[in-house]
């Protein structure tokens, strides 16, 4: 455990770089299919290893999803949807997703560790009908199918797949400030489920943990990219006859950006290692602390990068704002930093931070 691993699989990182070369805009189906064709949506589904073990092995190249700002529900798909569907033996749907044919999203109740379902599943002859609602479902407007968490009359929990547009499904599309993350509210009124799988608590916990760390990798990768770009910018940009990067006020801001990023990265790697060794019993204190550290680091670094770029940082063309937008949305809608921070305090005061 204590030996230092570099986690740097160059080939994977370079491949991801190429696959994500042009990105940052709204969801694009053609680009999505290409990404799928490259195998990137099931990059954690390798061989005999669990997704958590793969994540630890690939934690450094996983940062490339943040360098280029992961498109659509890519991280959700590879870290949560595919592992859960495969564990539930929904192979057909999983294969279609991995090939990029079907785009699937999941409600935030499903991917968080401490939410209760607001959707009920009722058996109707041989089909399941779903009623209830889910708010702020990421990528709902872009998805063909949405996975929801539902409770049955018998008190069990199930993961159900419903078509995003169909009888009994009302979807209210919206945008977020991040062009790469659309969002929508979902109301189900007796909608027929395409597929229902039993929600194995251990599988859901492992998937939630893996997705949380995948978001962390995106955050650290985004922050590292911004630091590199900012260093280049303040080295080239001259004022008062010298590079603005020679001024201590600028240097110290960059040093603080590095500090929060590197500390967050160290914790992410530690959490990934520990999760890999116990995927069915995730180390939630580490995972939540990593979520808070990485999410906050990304947000701070993005804000500071804009400041270091001066007026240019405030322009649309320079594109720094895309990272700031992603940091804000990924730290709330996708992997809620505030919720993770509250769980840490619950953990610290001896009340369980996470429902088990």
């Amino acid at each position: 455990m204590t030996s230092v691993r570099d986690y740097d699989d160059r080939a994977v990182a370079d491949g991801l770089n190429d696959a994500l070369a042009r990105n940052g805009g709204p969801f694009d189906r053609a680009a999505w299919r290409q990404l799928a064709a490259g195998g990137w949506l099931h990059m954690l589904a390798g061989g005999a290893a669990t997704p958590a073990e793969e994540l630890a092995r690939l934690i450094s190249p996983m940062e490339r999803w943040g360098t280029a700002l992961a498109p659509g529900p890519a991280l959700l798909t590879l870290a949560w949807i595919l592992p859960v569907l495969r564990a539930g033996q929904a192979e057909q749907l999983a294969d279609d997703i991995a090939r990029g044919v079907v785009v699937v999203t999941a409600t935030r109740e499903l991917t968080s560790v401490d939410a209760d379902p607001e959707i009920r599943a009722v058996r109707d002859a041989r089909r399941w009908r779903l009623s209830g609602q889910a708010r702020l479902v990421p990528w709902l407007p872009d998805a063909d199918t949405v996975l929801v968490l539902a409770s049955t009359a018998g008190g069990t929990r199930v993961v159900a797949a419903v078509p995003a547009a169909g009888a009994g499904v009302r979807s209210t599309p919206d945008e977020t400030i991040d062009p790469g993350v659309s969002i929508g509210d979902l109301v189900l009124d007796g909608a027929l489920a395409d597929l229902v799988i039993e929600a194995d608590a251990a599988v859901l916990r492992a998937a939630a943990a893996t997705y949380s760390l995948a978001l962390d990798a995106q955050a650290v990768g985004g922050a590292a990219e911004l630091i590199a770009r900012t260093v280049r910018y303040v080295t080239d940009r001259h004022q008062f006859g010298q590079p603005v990067g020679s001024f201590q006020a600028v240097k110290h801001r960059l040093a603080d950006m590095v500090t929060v990023t590197e500390a967050a990265r160290a914790l992410l790697w530690l959490a990934a290692d520990r999760l890999a060794s116990q995927p069915l019993d995730p180390p939630w204190e580490d995972i939540d602390a990593s979520r808070v550290s990485c999410g906050d680091a990304f947000r701070k670094v993005a804000a500071d990068a804009i400041q270091c770029y001066g007026g240019m940082g405030f322009t649309w063309e320079e594109g720094i704002h895309l990272y700031y937008r992603r940091a804000l949305v990924a730290g709330s809608v996708l992997g809620d930093v505030e919720a993770a921070a509250r769980r840490l305090v619950r953990h610290g005061t001896g009340r369980s931070g996470v429902k088990t």
Binding site: V4, V250, E262, A266, E285, S290, G350
Partner: protein, 376 residues
């Protein structure tokens, strides 16, 4: 291997570390008793053979590397054991002597240092040479039997208790700043050495001013050659500083757990937002420290992670004490009830200053990014 070492160390700690020593907060406000504890702890570690984890076996250390060394750091941090009184000299001077000292110096100095029979302090900083250490002014002039040293040292931890001081002095005023310095060992118990305790803002006399008025350094107490001082002092300094500060960061998790006990659920809820952030930051500091220590243990340079760890730990520790104070409320500052916490808060203001100020750390981090040099 490391689990064997871990178990042996755990057993030693269970048998030799009194539980009241594990909570240095409770004695931190009384520096003299803390120094006695740290000395006796050093003696006990020496007796058990655990005094010097990094130092090579040839000179009486454990010579630990890799997983074993990390295990040592982790177990020590988890136990809450205080730092031994000679920790600075064991970490910095002993390896310099092992590598560059004479056989006579090694045999005379190192065992007594490890045993805590002879107590040491470090004379580097001066009133006009702090962050810019190479600008130091203390002069050593060749004289009968050795060198006569004249000047003033400051921030000298433990000088009141120390028998010896290892110091940097300028032996060649004509040479450039780094080249004219020499590293020497000074007997503190002689005329010409005056120690004045310097009361710190926490109200204890941990560090001192040392006035040197033609104090004698014997010929046999020069380390290496005249003019080698800067090179020799740097040899173990950066690594040891990174290691020592990393170990302090590892201890912070224990303090976080104590903080939750002090706060209790209700008061923790009052400061939930900041406390959750601090909790995460403590874990991040610890992870950075663990990585720094692991790289050191593997004989690799921690690079910028050393500065990142120091900066992150010192700032996070201050935030931790702030949020505990805010959560506890006025009672926090009632001495009888806070049991050292308020004093720890005062002490923590020094942590962003000693061992390289936050500003120096940021300069070094910026340098590692390749940012253009400035005048400072």
């Amino acid at each position: 291997v490391s689990s064997t070492l871990r178990l042996a160390l755990r057993q030693f700690l269970a048998e030799n570390l009194p539980s009241e020593w594990s909570d240095t907060r409770s004695v931190a406000s009384d520096y003299d008793s803390l120094a006695l504890v740290r000395r006796e702890w050093g003696q006990r570690l020496f007796a058990g053979g655990w005094a010097a984890p990094v130092l090579s076996r040839a000179v009486g250390g454990l010579g630990l590397v890799g997983d074993d060394l990390v295990a040592y750091f982790e177990e020590m941090a988890a136990s809450g054991a205080p730092e031994v009184l000679n920790s600075n000299a064991i970490g910095i001077l002993a390896p310099v002597l092992a590598a560059y000292g004479s056989a006579e110096q090694r045999g005379r100095v190192i065992p007594a240092m490890l045993a805590h029979d002879v107590l040491w302090c470090q004379g580097f900083s001066e009133p006009d040479a702090g962050s810019d250490l190479a600008d130091l002014r203390t002069r050593a002039v060749s004289a009968v039997g050795g060198w006569r040293v004249r000047g003033q040292k400051v921030w000298t931890s433990n000088a009141l208790h120390a028998d010896y001081c290892y110091l940097l002095a300028r032996t060649d005023p004509a040479a450039s700043a780094h080249v004219g310095l020499s590293l020497m060992m000074l007997d503190m118990r002689q005329p010409g050495v005056e120690v004045r305790p310097l009361r710190n803002m926490a109200g204890t006399d941990e560090f001192c001013e040392v006035f040197l008025d033609d104090a004698l350094v014997r010929s046999e107490d020069l380390i290496g050659e005249p003019g080698d001082g800067w090179r020799l002092a740097s040899f173990a300094l950066e690594q040891e500083r990174a290691s020592m500060l990393g170990q302090r960061a590892l201890r912070m998790s224990r303090e976080l757990a104590d903080a939750y006990v002090l706060l209790g659920a209700e008061r923790a809820a009052r400061v939930e937002r900041e406390l959750g952030r601090v909790h995460a930051a403590v874990r991040a500091s610890e992870a950075a420290a663990r990585r720094t220590l692991t790289l050191i243990a593997l004989g690799r340079s921690p690079g910028v992670l050393a500065q990142v760890t120091k900066l992150h730990w010192s700032l996070t520790h201050q935030r931790l004490l702030d949020v505990v104070a805010d959560g506890v409320g006025p009672e926090f500052f009632a001495d009888g009830r806070s049991r050292g916490w308020a004093h720890a808060m005062l002490f923590s203001r020094g942590e962003t200053i000693y061992g390289g100020t936050s500003e120096i750390q940021r300069n070094l981090i910026a340098r590692s990014l390749g940012l253009p040099r400035s005048r400072r």
